[in-house]
Amino acid sequence: MTQRLTRDELTAWGRRDCTLPRLSGDLGPRTVLVRRIGAATYLSFLPPDPPGAELWPEITDTMSDEEKKATQAFRAAREQEYLESLAPKEQAARLTAFRSVHLQVIAWCAIEPTFTVDEAKDLGDDAVGLSHQILEFSGLLTPAPAPQGSA
C-alpha cells in the first residue's frame, strides 16, 4: 500500500534554500529559505494584459518544454511591441510594475529571512535571480538551458 503523504513531508517538499550569487560573492555563501508560490498568487502579481492578449497562444501544462519556450518568446515579443507603443510615462510605469513582481514574489515566499517588498529592493541584482529560482522551484518557469560549451 502506498504511503500517505504527511503534512510534514508536504511542508519539507515545499521549501528550499536558494543561493544569492552577488551577496555570496561579497560575503561568502548566503542563502534564503523560501516556500513555493502557487500559479494563482503569481498571476495576481502581474500587471494587466495588453489589449488583445486574449488572442495570443497560451502556455499550457500539456506543451513540451520547447513549445512552452516558443510560446513564451512569442508572448514576450508581443509584450515588447505593446511596451514600445506606449507613451514614455506609461512605458516607465509598466516596467516598474514588472520589476516589482520579482519583489512581490520574494516578499511572499521568503521564510528565513523574511522580506517586505521594500526590503527585497536591498537584494539589488540578486532579487531577479532569487525570484527566478523561486518560480523554477514552483514549476512556473522553465529552467534556463545551460550555456553552450559549458561542462
Binding site: 513555493r36 494563482a40 488572442l55
Partner: protein, 177 residues
C-alpha cells in the same frame, strides 16, 4: 458518511497517496468562473477555483490555499486531473484506479449552499423537476452523481428534441403531399 478516494501522487520522486472526499455539487462549483475568455483575469479565476476544489476535497493531508503550493505545480496538476477524472468532470482523461474510503461529511457540506452558477441553473432545476426533488437537494448531491444525472438528462433531452424535429419534418412533408 460520504465517499472518499485515495489518489496516487508523486512528491519529490516518491510515490505517495492523498485522501480526497467527494464534494457536493454546491461545494464543487463554489467560485466556478463562468467565462471561457482567454484573459489573465479568467485564468486567475479558474486557478483560484481549482485551488478551492483541492482545498475543499483534500482531507489527508489537509491543505489551505497557503499550503497547497507546497505540492508544486506538477503534482497539483496531476492531483487535480485525477480528481476531475474520478468524479466525471474530465471525461478525456481515464480515471486512475482508486481505493474508496468512507468519510464523515464536512460541516461545509451541510450548510446552506451558494446558488448554482448561471450556466448550471437550468440543469439543477430540470433535474429537480424531472426526478421530483427540490433544487437544493439536487445541488447537494455528490458531484459525480450530479454530473452523471445532468449529462444523462441533457442527452435524453437532445434525443427528445431530435425526435420532435423529425416528427415535425414528417408532418410538414405529409402536409405538402
Amino acid at each position: 458518511m460520504i465517499q472518499g478516494f485515495v489518489l496516487p501522487l508523486v512528491v519529490g520522486g516518491q510515490a505517495r497517496a492523498a485522501v480526497v472526499r467527494e464534494l457536493s455539487a454546491a461545494e464543487f462549483f463554489q467560485g466556478y468562473p463562468e467565462s471561457t475568455e482567454a484573459t489573465t483575469a479568467v485564468r486567475l479565476a479558474r486557478l483560484r477555483w481549482e485551488d478551492g476544489v483541492l482545498c475543499r476535497a483534500l482531507t489527508d493531508p489537509v491543505v489551505t490555499p497557503e499550503t497547497l503550493p507546497n505540492l508544486g505545480h506538477e503534482a497539483r496538476a496531476a492531483l487535480l486531473t485525477a480528481y476531475f477524472a474520478v468524479v466525471g468532470w474530465e471525461s478525456k482523461t481515464e480515471a486512475p484506479p482508486v481505493e474508496v474510503v468512507a468519510l464523515s461529511a464536512s460541516p461545509a457540506a451541510l450548510s446552506t449552499p451558494t446558488l448554482p452558477p448561471a450556466s448550471w441553473r437550468a440543469a439543477v432545476i430540470t433535474t429537480a423537476s424531472r426526478f421530483g426533488h427540490l433544487p437544493m437537494q439536487v445541488w447537494r448531491l455528490p458531484i459525480s452523481e450530479f454530473l452523471f444525472t445532468a449529462k444523462l438528462l441533457v442527452e435524453s433531452l437532445e434525443e427528445e428534441i431530435a425526435a420532435q424535429e423529425r416528427a415535425l419534418m414528417m408532418a410538414e412533408a405529409r402536409a405538402r403531399g
